[in-house]
């Protein structure tokens, strides 16, 4: 019986490890290939085994061949800009939905939730038109604006606020808090896990976003990392520069990758949390 259990555990271990390795193969390849010397023969390009002296030539070339610095800056501005505005809009809206009583509350709530389904990417054509009208075409604000309101964030935070007993707010009011101080000293600290979860999900989503920035920007100075990577890839693919593509991809992924492996538990919990309705 004990032996049977032991063998079962071993089989499970081997199987699940194999699956995980196969699943990670694209990344293993990416890492190997990105450090592979440029002169290395093309036929063994796919080998996952690092049978060479690693070099950072690919990274250097990738870094020099496109405006990665600019793309990084643009992407960071977009991600932080979206998040900053979102945190304000979702906190206020979630507070209203969780704590205040007003006509059409349920109806409005459903109206908000509509954005969970009719997500901005599906509305690229009319939104593009709106951006042109508003004079926001080819601006970073134009990239950000459709995401300034978040049904998901509002919903998540509303649930969180609703789970906080009202007594805390009453106590704070009697202690002398203004409405803003109640939010600042009581509700926001208590909703921190939800706010962090939302922030992580939002940052990841907008760091990775491609189609909308591609549509709404035109000049090279407004491009984001993903757009840069896509055009870079197109160029390098023609020349079969796979090591270069691997290095470029790595550069785009690196910040989130490092954050993920540093705060694994936080990331996993955030994405898990995002599904608990």
């Amino acid at each position: 019986m004990n032996l049977k259990k032991y063998i079962g555990a071993a089989v499970f271990f081997v199987l699940i490890s194999t699956v995980a390795i196969v699943w990670s193969a694209p990344f293993l390849w990416m890492i190997t290939a990105s450090f592979r010397p440029h002169t290395f023969g093309g036929l063994d390009m796919a080998s996952l085994w690092p049978n060479f002296v690693p070099t950072i030539d690919n990274y250097r070339m990738a870094w020099e061949s496109t405006e990665f610095v600019l793309y990084y800056i643009n992407t960071i501005i977009i991600v932080i800009g979206i998040l900053a505005v979102q945190l304000v809009t979702i906190t206020l809206a979630a507070y209203a939905f969780a704590r205040l009583d007003f006509p059409f509350r349920t109806f409005l709530f459903y109206l908000f939730l509509l954005q969970l389904m009719i997500v901005p990417p599906i509305l690229i054509v009319p939104n593009l038109k709106t951006m042109v009208t508003l004079g926001l075409y080819d601006t970073l604000i134009g990239v950000m604006a459709p995401y300034f309101a978040s049904a998901f964030g509002t919903f998540l935070l509303r649930q969180t606020f609703k789970s906080i007993p009202r007594d805390f707010e009453d106590a704070a009011v009697i202690d002398g808090c203004s409405w803003f101080q109640v939010l600042r000293y009581v509700l926001i600290p208590l909703a921190k896990p939800a706010l962090i979860a939302f922030s992580i999900v939002s940052v990841v989503a907008h760091w990775n976003e491609y189609l909308w920035p591609l549509m709404v920007t035109d000049s090279p100075g407004k491009r984001t990392l993903t757009i840069g990577l896509a055009s870079f890839t197109r160029g390098a693919e023609g020349a079969s520069e796979w090591g270069l593509i691997a290095a470029g991809t790595m550069l785009v992924m690196l910040p989130l990758m490092l954050l993920f492996f540093a705060f694994q538990k936080q990331f996993i919990n955030s994405f898990m949390f995002s599904g608990i309705k």
Binding site: A172, I174, G176, C177, Y185, P189, K192
Partner: protein, 375 residues
Amino acid sequence: MASIAFKQIYKSYGNISVIKGIDLEIKDGELVVFIGPSGCGKSTMLRLLAGLEEEDSGSMYIGDSLVNSIAPKDRNIAMIFQNYALYPHMTVAENIGFGLKLRGMNKKNRIRAVDETASLLGLEHLLTKQPRQLSGGQRQRVAMGRAIIRNPKVFLMDEPLSNLDAKLRNQMRIEIKKLQRRLKTTTIFVTHDQIEAMTLADRIVVLNDGKVQQVGAPSKLYSSPVNKFVAGFLGSPSINFIHARRTGDNELTLPDGQCVLLPVDQAQILSDLREVEIGIRPEQIDIVKSRQTTMEENTITWSSSVSLIESLGSEKLVYSYHGEHEVAVKTTNSNGAVEGSNIQLSFSMNNAHLFALNDGRCLSPLAGIAQKGSI
């Protein structure tokens, strides 16, 4: 320090009216307990005075100032909540000092004030702890600390002991009473527990259905309830009610056919009522030796079988029946009654209260005076 006055307070939520015209005055330094069943409006009254809810009409005074339109933080009150509402993300010291911080007191003075309050309540060693690390009694003390540190004019306590176990509840009750005696701060204490009300209060306010039923010292409310509700609400076990029909000017007939003659002054109050209820406290009924037949003029005697006996140690609760009514008796001398045995019970009408069957008001002369006095 301040007196409190409620004048013609009304409050409703949507179509449900919860407070239906309350007038009440509380003296400076008094500890008043609001008691009533859930939904009677007792917590709403507190929240109205605190400014957490807005009254529909009426006025409220703390001291001489009308507070209706004053923001909660400027009413100079402190409140203790049922679940304490200690901010979970702050330490004990931060919790206690939060109100002072908001009022802009500098850090040095704040720390001194927190230390003083903590030593008053025996919390010195807990100041750096988080609320979740504390026991129920400690949390209760922190909540008190948060309330007293600002030296408010009024304490509002919303069932502050109901989350504690029985033993701790008694202990904290005594502490609250001692603290209140010492600080002499006007206090309103809301509870549904009549023992808390009886032991703590200078005066009790019994509320039901959004109205004040009776106000008075605990012993007075117990001995002279103005209506059936107050009589039934205070006292454990509850007062016993026995239905009676009027069969003559001063004659009542009980369901078992027994007649009793009322003294003339009591009979007058009956006026033209046809049906009444006799209320008799469990400790006012005696279990007498069977075959005891000496019957006084206005004594009611009957026999019944014992359905249950509960022992409280020194006293016993003996349950039996009078007709269809279950009757509880609290006695130190059960005269050998055992479950299933037949006993003889008796009480004197001098100790009984008479209530009108239609509206429940008390008909006894003493209670009548009390009623005029308080409403």
